[in-house]
């Protein structure tokens, strides 16, 4: 069966510090991968998606970036965090682009 892992579960970082969040998927090949952010009182916002290794599409301009170095690994990064980057970050995968998505447990990021 397929599983999705995200770490860390929680993170507290100072403004201006770098960020690296990792997501890995097991039990499936060539999944579509997604990074979402959920801020307090707001809906899920799609940040990045990837249909294959090295292929990244960005949905919103921001100081975050994403990379997909391996088929089942998706990394979210920032060189310098802003206060507004605080939120609940979720990784998800799907088979193709028109099917249900399966979400990881999420990372709660607080930028102080």
């Amino acid at each position: 069966s397929q599983t999705i892992h995200q770490w860390p579960a929680t993170l507290v970082q100072p403004v201006g510090s770098p960020l690296s969040l990792e997501c890995t998927v097991e039990g499936t090949s060539n999944p579509n991968l997604y990074w979402y952010r959920q801020a307090a009182g707001r809906g899920l916002q799609l940040l990045f998606y990837s249909v294959g290794i090295g292929q990244i599409s960005s949905e919103v301009p921001q100081n975050l970036s994403a990379s997909r170095p391996q088929d089942r690994q998706f990394i979210l990064s920032s060189k310098k965090l802003l206060l507004s980057d605080s939120g609940f970050y979720l990784c998800a995968w799907s088979v193709g682009g028109y099917n249900e998505q399966f979400f990881g447990p999420g990372t709660r990021l607080t930028v102080l």
Partner: protein
């Protein structure tokens, strides 16, 4: 612009009753619509997907309808239980530019089932 609206932020119902949640959308004709459940501090969990040519779909105590004329989906939980308390999200494939369609989520309705 394209919009998804879940018109109740919160809904309280008595245990055993049927909960009905609404999802409306504007300025778009999606090929399908999905419903997810999200518990506090956790990622959403997929529940049901309904396509534009389907009027209704059922799964155990869950039922989803999709009215493309009204641009509305209704999500029903029959014989509701306290364990059904959660936030429910609807999601549509919306055009995100450059020939790309992505799943876009509503803000959700927080359902509380009172014993």
């Amino acid at each position: 612009s394209q919009k998804i609206e879940q018109n109740s932020e919160a809904l309280n119902i008595q245990e055993g009753k049927t909960a009905t949640l609404t999802c409306n959308y504007t300025n778009y004709s999606p090929a399908y619509l999905q419903w997810y459940r999200q518990d506090p501090g956790r990622g959403p969990v997929f529940l049901l997907l309904i396509r534009e040519n389907e009027k209704e779909k059922r799964k155990e105590r869950l039922k989803v309808t999709f009215d493309t004329t009204l641009k509305q989906s209704l999500f029903h939980i029959t014989a509701s239980q306290p364990a059904d308390s959660a936030t429910y999200l609807c999601a549509l494939d919306l055009y995100s530019g450059a020939g790309s369609y992505q799943l876009t989520f509503g803000k959700g309705t927080k359902l509380s089932v009172i014993p």
